[in-house]
Amino acid sequence: MKLEESPDIQEYQDPLLKPLPDAHLQRRRFRIVLLVLLLITISLFAMYLMQTKKISTFFGTGSIRGVVLDAHGNPFKAEIYVLGTGIKSETNPDGSFTISDIPSGERILVIADENIGNSQSIQVIAGKQIDIGEIRFIPTAVPEP
């Protein structure tokens, strides 16, 4: 090889081997992806719980009180159910009732005699007692037209 064909010394100024990619950086990126995916999964799970109304159990319980009367305004001996919670209670002889430890959120309250029940929606607030007042029991399964 002639001298003039030999490579210029400038070509050897850059290192022959490029530096290896930063393995720690790759690992960090993978963990960031994992963290983002974990956050997405948690968000989706929260949305699912809200959709199924099961999230209310995480937000504590509340209580309700009221009085059940018959059509003439006399105290009525009734069974009381909070649907979907397994809670069942009864009125006192004066028609009054208090039910505690109801999971918060919108609930369906049923006031019933031996054969018929009347249902109504109630809002249970965690840590509070809601007075739903007087409830007139309607002893028929045929609703008003």
Partner: protein, 239 residues
């Protein structure tokens, strides 16, 4: 002692966690979109094989050929001999009856479709089909669809501890000039998740959601001066 060689790759645990999170996320997205894993699996298999591998299976069926109606638990009432059409292979009920299909009660199925064929109301205030109902210790808990000219409506009620709950949580008026009496109708009820869809003769009449009851079988009920017959009732796996 040899110094520990530094490791730069991902751990197996991290890859497993990645797969787990992806899987759970997909499941949750399907749930939120109201799709079942089974439906998606069936759709994919049908797409690949060009065959419907998940067609609805019959879970329980009764065409009422047994004159003793052994598959039914009669709470009150009895098969009617006073029916207008005294055909074999029919169940006819008069006045007040409440009965539960034992096959479906034993299965404790969550999701299914009910098809009741050629159901004819001859006269009276109506009949009802219990669904997702458990009948234990003399008490029914569940839902009932009511074909109810007495209320001039098609309704869905809850039953709690053997008590009929008022008001119905779903109701649609019976259209004017609707052939209520002396006309056979096919009643179909899709019970999937918390969604209940009622069809009469293929036409959707009610579509509601409710979270109270998660599983249970089927039953029938008539009341007042009803005269009612039906040819067949079948419980299919969910569509």
């Amino acid at each position: 002692m040899k110094p520990k060689k530094p490791e730069f790759g991902q751990g197996l645990l991290e890859y497993a966690l990645l797969l787990l999170l992806v899987g759970v996320s997909i499941l949750l997205v399907l749930r939120l979109m109201g799709l079942s894993v089974r439906d998606v699996y069936c759709d994919i298999v049908a797409l690949i094989t060009n065959q419907d591998s998940c067609s609805n299976q019959v879970l329980c069926s009764d065409s009422f050929d047994d004159p003793a109606f052994k598959g039914w638990n009669w709470v009150y009432g009895a098969p009617s001999m006073n029916r207008v059409n005294n055909n074999p292979g029919q169940l006819c009920l008069s006045n007040s009856n409440q009965l539960y299909n034992q096959c479906s009660q034993n299965k404790e199925q969550k999701d299914y479709s009910i098809l009741m064929k050629n159901s004819i109301l001859y006269n009276g205030n109506g009949y009802g089909i219990f669904f997702r109902t458990t009948y234990l210790k003399g008490k029914a808990n569940g839902y009932i669809f009511q074909y109810d000219p007495g209320l001039r409506a098609f309704v869905i009620r809850r039953w709690v501890d053997g008590k009929e709950i008022n008001p119905p949580f779903a109701k649609t008026p019976i259209p004017p000039n609707y052939p209520i009496y002396n006309t056979p109708h096919d009643i179909k009820i899709d019970v999937i998740g918390n969604n209940y869809v009622i069809y009469i003769d293929g036409q959707k009449i009610l579509d509601v959601t409710d979270d109270v009851y998660q599983k249970g079988g089927i039953g029938l009920r008539t009341w007042d001066s009803t005269n009612f017959c039906t040819d067949e009732i079948t419980l299919f796996s969910a569509p």
